[in-house]
Symmetry: C2
Subunit: 542 residues, 2 copies
């Protein structure tokens, strides 16, 4: 790896921005890190968009093998710079080495999973309604459907996942897999991390012989460069992970365009965890309290799925849980948060929650020795207070949580019904709780995108069945997920083909199915294995 | 069938509105039809929303068989009133009997197709990533995904499909199939037609023993009752077919809510038809001109997919086509349009287009004998004019079209690139045109939702592979379709289930797959047939 340059990467070219400069800051010391990163001006940003638009025609036409190989090259390139990458990310984010090494693994795993998705080809949504020339009163024409990529995508990286949800993160991987060029607006909290990964992608574009406009990494402020990108009519979709205010500002811009574009924003969630009586039975309370503290304080609580609300029954078992939590949180030491402004926002949120009527402090840890390492804290309140005061269910990004005591199942359900949309909801239950858990299930299905039993919401598996999404304000697009293979759906659009000549039919809906994808035939899902059995049977009969 | 009442139907109860009244008008005579229809006030509308919200819990839990039987009962109930229904629809819309009888067929066919969709169950999106307890460094938990209905849906019927896209039309059928209660805001241009169909649904709700809140039909103005419905936080999604201004107004309201809701609006399209040289060869020009006039003037041109723009090459073959069109359109007589205001808007649009520089009239037919039957008309202009003046590509709802002459393939592609998003695009081509058609294909994929060869865009097949959608402003949600079985996707949202006990898993993702749906297992699509083969093999081996 060569030294960091502080430059944007526009369609393969390192570019010195004509605007202001910024620097990374080591949040554990407050120290400014070199080099300076220069912000692009409007004309320079325009060049990245223009290049992405021009690259779309050839990139969308790549074969599954070409596209998959490209994603795998990015993964290999990132692995090749793992050490300097983790070192720089540690300095820029304050996150520990083990966490960041794990995140490298998740990032490259994600890229390889999407390579598999591209090769398998379920995402094409191939569907064929064959002609019925003899149908009465009117014959039916041959109609086929597949999904096409939407066009250039802009990705805003997340501060809290400098690798897995930043430059080569889930949004980028899924958009590239769909056939969309990507422009990443680099996160200014980890610019060097962004540059290293951006160079890995840029190198992969070149070594795979793709149009350089397939990828650009641009530095600038969110209010100017970010807004300019989202306002540009050539940008077809936007992926964002961050604050509610940030996501809503981008969405307003995208909606105000002459041709609006979707902004897939993952914004805020307090991830209610419900403890039922059975789970607190025996010596359950202590173990659950330990698990809760581990889930809450990991990564300084800076996870979208951190448990910000725990619903605990009144009574002695619930008291034992609360008491254990109070004791355990008091023993915790604050870890460095990602940036000084995130640490300030945490302090502000904690002060606001502490000042609410009927909210009391269950326990407070100790601030860390370094800078920006505020003390973890857990508050408590009654379910009635939560229902009456929306301030109690606002997200505090960091290691702060609220334990809310409920009276019975009806009270629990009424309390949940008053909460905003969430990424996750969790039930802790035993066999004895199964009836209540069954009552809760449809309530939670309406409330969130992922329901967990007897676990903790932090830690999001990147698989085929994962949903990291949920009703507003958890996300701006509740029908989608930003983690897992279905994230690709956000960047595709169906097109149907009526009586199109065989010579012109795209591969996923061609009769000979050259890419061996699943095809729905007249509404019946037909796997490649089934299709070959069918055609084999036909061949032997002829 | 009993006599029309003029009442709304709120959760099974006929309700006299407390607001103003309206009447249907026979557009062929201008005559007012009885009875009076009373508009609901705010409190009454509130009752319909409240009933829908309360009905959601039980309706979403219906089995496939219960939901399919309900849809089939609606179809049978509509068929049972076919004669009076068609008679009233003729009086209210001016559409001919054959067209309306065909529309009854399409409407009941759609309902039965969605019953099949419910029984087949592909829409559940069932996906299972089994646990991997031995995975390192961390074990994988069992994660499953299915889609759940979003909640109560409001449907705004279309004026131009008083049956197939109104009270029991595609939006209603797909929302009910998804498990969502439906409130239809009745179209005031065909209130009696709406009432008859609304009663058919209401009867089906009762005879199938469903919660009456599953369906309501409400009368009122769009500006008050329509806006109130869309502004209500309990409404989870909106289906709309109509004007661009109407769709955008509803969308603005839904976006301004504290919790925004998607508005699936199908709005405007001019459906470019491209004639390539080969197709005009021999005596192709005359035949194409005849087909064009038939497609343009059917249903008075009041179809979302009417060919409002035909791109024709310069040269003698193109001249012959234009000449034939001019001759044929002059022989056409205007047919009654749906409403006086639609006829007025048509006249206005025609006058505006005629007044544009570089637009000349190719031929004008004769106005019909009755009221509201303006003369069909075809204009012509150059491709350069179309590119320079957006007024030339604005939709005129009715039998008016513009023939634009292009110079060569590059000119054609540049012209298409300047057009707004469309529902359809059509290419007329022969073998000789295949190279140019191949160049056009990706351009049209970016432009529209359905590409046709050697046909005409009017007539939308209701099947599994159909897309009736496309980039803005054709629709507000380009990733969706409002016609065909995938229309159900608009009313569903994925949820994932992590380590949920087997006893609580919803049927579509249960191990024993009691509904025999397609399940994706670890990313591999597995049909019920394959699954039974697998489990059969397992059984014989044990």
């Amino acid at each position: 790896m060569t030294a960091l340059t502080g430059l944007s990467l526009i369609a393969g070219n390192p570019v010195t921005g004509n605007g202001a400069t910024t620097n990374a800051i080591d949040p554990s010391t407050g120290e400014t890190l070199t080099p300076d990163y220069t912000f692009l001006d409007e004309t320079q940003v325009e060049q990245a968009v223009d290049a992405a638009k021009r690259a779309f025609a050839t990139y969308r036409a790549t074969t599954p093998e070409e596209r998959a190989a490209f994603l795998e090259t990015i993964a290999a390139n990132i692995e090749a710079v793992r050490e300097p990458l983790v070192e720089r990310a540690m300095a820029e984010t304050g996150l520990p080495s083990a966490r960041l090494n794990g995140e490298v693994g998740r990032t490259v795993g994600q890229l390889r999973l999407f390579a598999e998705v591209v090769r398998t080809g379920n995402f094409h949504g191939s569907s064929i309604d064959p002609a019925q020339p003899d149908r009465t009163p009117l014959p039916r024409l041959d109609i086929r459907q597949r999904r096409v990529p939407v066009g250039p995508v802009v990705v805003f990286g997340a501060s809290n996942f400098p690798l897995a949800f930043s430059v080569a993160g889930g949004d980028t991987a899924s958009a590239l897999a769909a056939g969309c060029p990507v422009i990443v607006k680099a996160h200014n909290a980890h610019p060097g991390t962004g540059e290293i990964v951006g160079q890995a992608i840029t190198d992969a574009v070149a070594s795979n012989g793709l149009n350089p406009g397939v990828f650009s990494l641009v530095f600038g402020s969110g209010a100017s460069v970010g807004q300019q990108l989202v306002a540009d009519s050539r940008i077809a979709a936007v992926g964002f992970t961050g604050s509610r205010s940030g996501g809503l500002a981008l969405q307003a811009t995208a909606q105000a365009r002459k041709v609006p574009a979707p902004v897939y924003a993952e914004m805020s969630s307090i991830n209610p965890v419900i403890l039922l009586d059975g789970a607190l039975g025996g010596d359950g309370a202590r173990g659950l309290a330990e698990q809760f503290i581990t889930s809450l304080t990991g990564s300084s609580g800076q996870l979208c799925t951190a448990p910000g609300l725990v619903l605990v029954p009144n009574g002695s078992a619930g008291d034992a849980f609360a008491e254990a939590v109070g004791e355990l949180i008091s023993q915790q030491t604050g870890q460095t948060m990602l940036t000084p402004s995130i640490a300030e926002a945490f302090d502000r949120g904690v002060a606001e929650l502490a000042a609410q009527d009927d909210v009391s402090t269950l326990g407070t840890g100790t601030a860390g020795a370094g800078a920006n390492a505020p003390a973890p804290v857990v508050f408590t309140a009654s379910s009635a207070s939560l229902r009456e005061n929306d301030a109690l269910s606002e997200e505090i990004f960091g290691a702060a949580s609220l334990i809310v005591r409920y009276t019975d199942a009806d009270d629990l359900i009424a309390t949940l019904a008053g909460i905003e949309g969430q990424l996750t909801s969790t039930i802790h239950a035993t066999e004895a709780d199964i009836a209540v858990a069954g009552q809760l299930l449809p309530v939670l299905e309406d409330l969130c995108g992922r329901i967990l039993f007897n676990g903790w919401p932090t830690g999001v598996e990147v698989g085929h069945a994962m949903v990291h999404g949920g009703p507003f304000p958890a996300t701006s697009a509740p029908a989608t997920t930003s983690v897992g293979t279905l994230a690709i759906d956000r960047f595709l659009r169906p097109v149907s083909y009526q009586a199109v000549p065989a010579a012109l039919l795209p591969e996923p809906i061609a009769d000979d199915n050259p890419w061996s994808v699943v095809q729905t035939i007249d509404g019946v899902v037909t796997t490649p294995a089934e299709a070959s059995t069918l055609s084999g049977a036909g061949a032997s009969a002829s």
